[in-house]
C-alpha cells in the first residue's frame, strides 16, 4: 500500500507521455515476478576432488561446496563481511574474543538441526593433525572455543588477529554425520550434506555433478531448481557448447569476450559481464641478485615497460594496470599511487646512474664488461603470461637488456626454481583472498625455502605495518595501514606490478536477476530465475 502511494505521488508530477512509458516499464517489471524451476548448466575445466569442505582446495570442489555449505560469515556484493549462519557477532577483549550468535531454525539437508556443536566439531577437525586440511593455520591461533548454548559460539584467540573474522567463512560440517569418521576417506566427500541453498544429488566422476534446490533454505528457497556442473576439460569445447546451448554459463577469455562472442547469435542469447578480478600478475626479481638489489635498476625496468600497452594488447583492455598488491576495488587498495609512466629515456638514465650503459656500442648495456642478461621464468599453459613476458622482453631490449624467457611445468617451477630461489626473475600471479592481510607474501620473516616471500623483500616499516594490520579490527584504521603498505611497497619496487585481468563471465539471457558487482555475479545466485515460458529443463 505504501509503495502504491509513493508511486502516485511521483506520477502526478510528470507529463503524460512519460507517464505512459513509465507504466509500460512498471507493468513489465511487475509481470516479472521470479518463478521457480529450470536448471543451469555450468562448465568447469576440472573435476572436484573432495566435497569435504575443509579438504576442498581446488576451484571445482570450492564451487560445489559454496552452494552446499555455509560459513558463519560471508562477503556481500561490496566485499564487506556479513552474517551467514551467524546472525551477528561481537568482538571483545581488544580483539581476543569473538562471540557468534547463530541463526535459529537452520536445518541440515537431512533434517537435523544445526547447532553450535557443529561449529565446534568443524574447528576440532581443522586443527586435528591427522586431517589433511590445508586451512589449519588460521585456526591454530585459537586458544579455546566454547559453546555455552546451542546458538552461541565463543572463540578466544591467543592474540588479536583481525583476519580471524573472515576465516569463519570456512564451511561448517555436520557433526552428527561425521562424528566418528575418518574425514580423509569418508564417503561424505562424495555425498555431502550441508545447510546451503542446494542439496547434493549425484556425481559422475569426470562427467558432471548435479545439485537440487533446497526448498527449506533459511535464506529462502533458490528459484533455479537444478544446478548441473559439467566437467569439460577443453576451453574450445566449452565455447562450442555455449554455441549449441549445451552450457548456460562459463568464463570467457579476453579474445572470446571481444571478438568471438561479438556475433548476432551470441548477443541475442547471452549476457556478458565484466568486473575486476581478484588476482594480479607481476614480475618478481630475485632480490639477492646484486643487479636487482640496486633500486635504480628496478625503477628503470618500471619505466621501460609499457604496462598500459600490455593490457591493451594481451587483454584487449579487459584488465587494469595495478600499482600494489591488493584487490583493485577493495578498501585496501591505494588509488592515489600512480603507475610509473612509460619513459625509456628515463629508464636509460637510471641504468646509467647505476653503472649500466652501452660501452662498446653493440646495443646491449654492460657494467665492468658484463652484459645485463637475465631469464624470466613462467609457468606452462598460461598464454597471457607468455605474451606479456614477450612484450617485456621487447621493451627491455630497447633499453639494452638481454632477456630470455623460459617456460616450465608448474611443479618443476615451484620446487626447483622458486623454492630454491634459483631464478633471476619470475612472471607470476597472486590470487588474493578477500582480506588484505598479506603478511606471508611481504614480511621479511617469510623468506625460508617454500615460503611465499621468495623474492626476498624486507622493509622494517612494512614489517611493522603488516603486524599492526593483523592486530587492528576497525576497517577504516586498517584501510589506512594497508594503503600505507601499498605506497611503501610501490616506492621500493621489489617487483614489477603489471596488471589485474578482469573476470569475464557469460550467462544465458534466460536467467534474470544477474548483475555484476565488486565480488562478481554469483553472490545473489539463489535469487536468479527464469520466466516460465523460457524454462528449458524440466
Amino acid at each position: 500500500m505504501c509503495v502504491v502511494g509513493r508511486w502516485s505521488l511521483v506520477v502526478s508530477k510528470i507529463p503524460l507521455a512519460m507517464l505512459a512509458v513509465f507504466f509500460l516499464c512498471l507493468s513489465s517489471a511487475l509481470a516479472e515476478t521470479p518463478e521457480y524451476g529450470d536448471a543451469i548448466v555450468v562448465a568447469s575445466i576440472g573435476d572436484a576432488r573432495s566435497l569435504v569442505p575443509i579438504l576442498a582446495s581446488d576451484s571445482a570442489s570450492s564451487d560445489i561446496c559454496g552452494l552446499v555449505f555455509n560459513g558463519l560469515v560471508k562477503y556481500d556484493k561490496n566485499i564487506d563481511i556479513v552474517g551467514d549462519l551467524a546472525k551477528d557477532w561481537e568482538i571483545t577483549d581488544g580483539g581476543r574474543r569473538i562471540i557468534f550468535h547463530l541463526k535459529k531454525g537452520v536445518r541440515w539437508h537431512d533434517g537435523a538441526p544445526f547447532t553450535s556443536r557443529d561449529v565446534r566439531f568443524t574447528y576440532n577437525k581443522l586443527v586435528d593433525p591427522k586431517v589433511k586440511t590445508p586451512y589449519g593455520s588460521d585456526f591454530g591461533r585459537i586458544e579455546s572455543l566454547d559453546t555455552p548454548d546451542d546458538h552461541t559460539v565463543v572463540v578466544n584467540y591467543k592474540e588479536p588477529f583481525s583476519p580471524a573474522l573472515s576465516s569463519w567463512g570456512m564451511w561448517i560440517m555436520p557433526e552428527h554425520l561425521l562424528k566418528d569418521k575418518d574425514l580423509n576417506s569418508a564417503p561424505f566427500g562424495r555425498r555431502p550434506v550441508g545447510t546451503g541453498p542446494y542439496k547434493f544429488k549425484s556425481w559422475k566422476t569426470g562427467e558432471k555433478i548435479e545439485l537440487a534446490s533446497n526448498p527449506d533454505y533459511f535464506d529462502g528457497a533458490p528459484y533455479i531448481g537444478r544446478y548441473i556442473y559439467r566437467i569439460i576439460p577443453d576451453d574450445a569445447t566449452i565455447f562450442l557448447e555455449l554455441q549449441t546451448g549445451g552450457v548456460d554459463s562459463s568464463v570467457l577469455t579476453p579474445l572470446q569476450f571481444t571478438r568471438q562472442t561479438d556475433t548476432p547469435s551470441f548477443r541475442s542469447r547471452y549476457n556478458k559481464f565484466r568486473y575486476p578480478g581478484f588476482g594480479y600478475t607481476y614480475m618478481g626479481y630475485n632480490l639477492s641478485d646484486g643487479r636487482f638489489r640496486d633500486i635504480r635498476v628496478r625503477r628503470a625496468i618500471d619505466h621501460a615497460v609499457n604496462k598500459e600497452e600490455i593490457v591493451r594488447t594481451v587483454f584487449f583492455s579487459l584488465g587494469r594496470v595495478i600499482t600494489g598488491p591488493f584487490i583493485f576495488d577493495s578498501w585496501a587498495y591505494n588509488k592515489s599511487v600512480a603507475p610509473a609512466p612509460y619513459d625509456p629515456s628515463r629508464a636509460k638514465e637510471l641504468l646509467k646512474d647505476a653503472g649500466w650503459y652501452d660501452a662498446d656500442g653493440d646495443g646491449w648495456i654492460e657494467k665492468d664488461g658484463v652484459e645485463f642478461e637475465f631469464t624470466i621464468l613462467i609457468n606452462q599453459g598460461n598464454n597471457e603470461r607468455l605474451r606479456s613476458a614477450e612484450m617485456i622482453q621487447n621493451y627491455l631490449k630497447a633499453v639494452g637488456m638481454r632477456v630470455k624467457i623460459r617456460t616450465l611445468e608448474w611443479s618443476a617451477l615451484i620446487n626447483d626454481f622458486i623454492n630454491k630461489r634459483k631464478f633471476d626473475a619470475v612472471l607470476m600471479g597472486w590470487f588474493l583472498p578477500r582480506d588484505p592481510d598479506c603478511y606471508d607474501i611481504w614480511h621479511s620473516s617469510r623468506t625460508r625455502e617454500g615460503q611465499f616471500n621468495f623474492i626476498g623483500y624486507g622493509n622494517g616499516e612494512v614489517d611493522k605495518l603488516l603486524e599492526e594490520g593483523r592486530r587492528t579490527f576497525d576497517q577504516e584504521e586498517r584501510a589506512l595501514i594497508y594503503k600505507k603498505i601499498h605506497s611503501l611497497i610501490n616506492a621500493d619496487s621489489p617487483c614489477l606490478f603489471l596488471y589485474s585481468p578482469d573476470a569475464l563471465p557469460i550467462v544465458s539471457k534466460r536467467f534474470r536477476g544477474v548483475e555484476a558487482s565488486p565480488i562478481g555475479i554469483g553472490y545473489n545466485f539463489t535469487k536468479w530465475y527464469v520466466p516460465k515460458e523460457e524454462q528449458k529443463y524440466k
Binding site: 576432488r49 582446495s57 581446488d58 586451512y135 589449519g136 566422476t205 549449441t244 598479506c438 606471508d440
Partner: protein
C-alpha cells in the same frame, strides 16, 4: 604347447617387477609433490600446513621405503588409495574402464572393418587411381592433428548442421529416457569420437594389409590359381586374402594394452571421462598411487598382449612352431 605357454608366462614375472621398479623411481624423479597443485603459492595455505600434509601422505620417507610398502600392498592386490580424493585406486580405474573400452573396441572394429578392405583394394588396384586416393586419404588422417580434425568436425556436425551433441557421453536428461532412447543417446554421443579416433589409425592397418597382400599376390600359388582358370574374385578372396591376413591378425594381440589406454587430448576435447584423462590428471597432480596403478595394469596388459601375439604367430605359422619345439 602348455609347457611353452607356462615357460613364457613365468619369464614375464621378473620383467613385470622390473617395470614397476623403474616406473616408481622415475615418477619420483619428476620434481614436485602431490601437495603442490592446490597448495603451492596459495596464500590461504600456510607453509606449516603444507609440511603437515607431506607428513600425512608419507612423503617424508625415503623413496625405496615407499616402494617397498607399495610392493607389499600390491602383491596382495591392493593398489592403495589416491592422493587426490583418498578413494581406492582400483575403484578410480574401474569406473573409467567401461567408457574407454567401449570407445576403443568400437573404433577398433571400425579400423579393421574399413582398413582391411581398403588395404586389399589398394593392393589389387596397385598404383591405380583407387590406390592413390586411398593412400592420400589414410595418410591425411594419419598426419592431421586429431584435436584439429575433432574441432572442425564438431563445429560442422554439431553447430552448422546441428545433428550431433558436441561433447560428453550422455545427455543431461538421460535418466528420463526410455531404454531405446538411452541407447540412441549414447550412440549419438559416440559417433564423432569413434569415427575420429578411427580416422587417425586407418593408415597403419590398411598399409600393413596392402603390403602383406602385395607380397602374396606375387607368389607362385596365386599364379597357379590364376592358371587353373579361377575367377579373379576367387583368387583374391579365397587364396590371397586368407594368407595375407595372418600377420595382420597378430597385430590384434599387440593392440590389447591400447584397449584401456586413452588419448588425453581426445578425451579432453570430447569431455569423455576416460583413462587418458585419469592418467594425465594423476601425473599433473603427482598422485603416485594412481599413476602406479595405471602403469601396472598397462604393464600387465602389454606383457599379456605380447604373449598373445607370440601364441597367434605360433598358431598361424608352422615354421615358428617347429623352431620353438627344436629349442625346447
Amino acid at each position: 604347447m602348455f609347457k611353452y605357454i607356462f615357460r613364457k608366462a613365468v619369464g614375464l614375472i621378473p620383467v613385470f617387477f622390473g617395470i614397476t621398479l623403474i616406473s616408481f623411481f622415475v615418477i619420483h624423479l619428476a620434481p614436485g609433490k602431490p601437495t603442490d597443485l592446490n597448495t603451492a603459492l596459495n596464500p590461504k595455505v600456510s607453509y606449516e600446513s603444507r609440511e603437515r600434509l607431506e607428513r600425512l601422505y608419507g612423503l617424508d620417507r625415503p623413496v625405496y621405503e615407499q616402494y617397498a610398502s607399495w610392493l607389499k600392498r600390491f602383491v596382495m592386490f591392493d593398489f592403495g588409495r589416491s592422493f587426490i580424493d583418498d578413494r581406492p585406486v582400483s575403484e578410480r580405474i574401474l569406473e573409467r574402464i567401461p567408457v574407454t573400452l567401449g570407445i576403443n573396441i568400437s573404433s577398433m572394429l571400425l579400423i579393421f572393418g574399413i582398413g582391411l578392405p581398403l588395404g586389399v583394394l589398394a593392393a589389387v588396384k596397385r598404383n591405380r587411381i583407387v590406390d592413390r586416393f586411398s593412400t592420400v586419404f589414410v595418410f591425411a588422417g594419419f598426419s592431421a592433428p586429431e584435436f584439429w580434425v575433432a574441432l572442425l568436425a564438431m563445429s560442422f556436425f554439431c553447430i552448422t548442421l546441428g545433428w550431433l551433441p558436441v561433447s560428453g557421453i550422455k545427455s543431461l536428461d538421460f535418466e528420463c529416457l526410455t531404454m531405446g532412447g538411452k541407447i540412441l543417446d549414447v550412440a549419438r554421443h559416440m559417433v564423432l569420437p569413434v569415427c575420429i579416433a578411427a580416422f587417425g589409425s586407418l593408415a597403419g592397418i590398411s598399409r600393413y594389409m596392402r603390403s602383406s597382400m602385395i607380397g602374396i599376390m606375387d607368389l607362385d600359388f596365386i599364379r597357379a590359381a590364376r592358371a587353373k582358370g579361377l575367377s579373379e574374385r576367387a583368387v583374391i578372396f579365397r587364396h590371397a586374402v586368407k594368407n595375407a591376413i595372418l600377420p595382420v591378425v597378430t597385430i590384434i594381440g599387440l593392440s590389447v594394452p591400447g584397449l584401456i589406454g586413452g588419448s588425453v587430448i581426445f578425451e579432453s576435447i570430447f569431455a569423455i571421462p576416460g583413462m587418458g584423462r585419469l592418467f594425465y590428471d594423476s601425473v599433473m597432480a603427482r598422485d603416485y598411487p594412481t599413476i602406479m596403478g595405471i602403469l601396472s595394469v598397462g604393464a600387465i596388459l602389454t606383457l599379456f598382449g605380447n604373449l598373445l601375439a607370440d601364441l597367434l604367430y605360433h598358431a598361424a605359422d608352422p615354421r615358428i612352431r617347429v623352431e620353438e619345439s627344436r629349442k625346447l
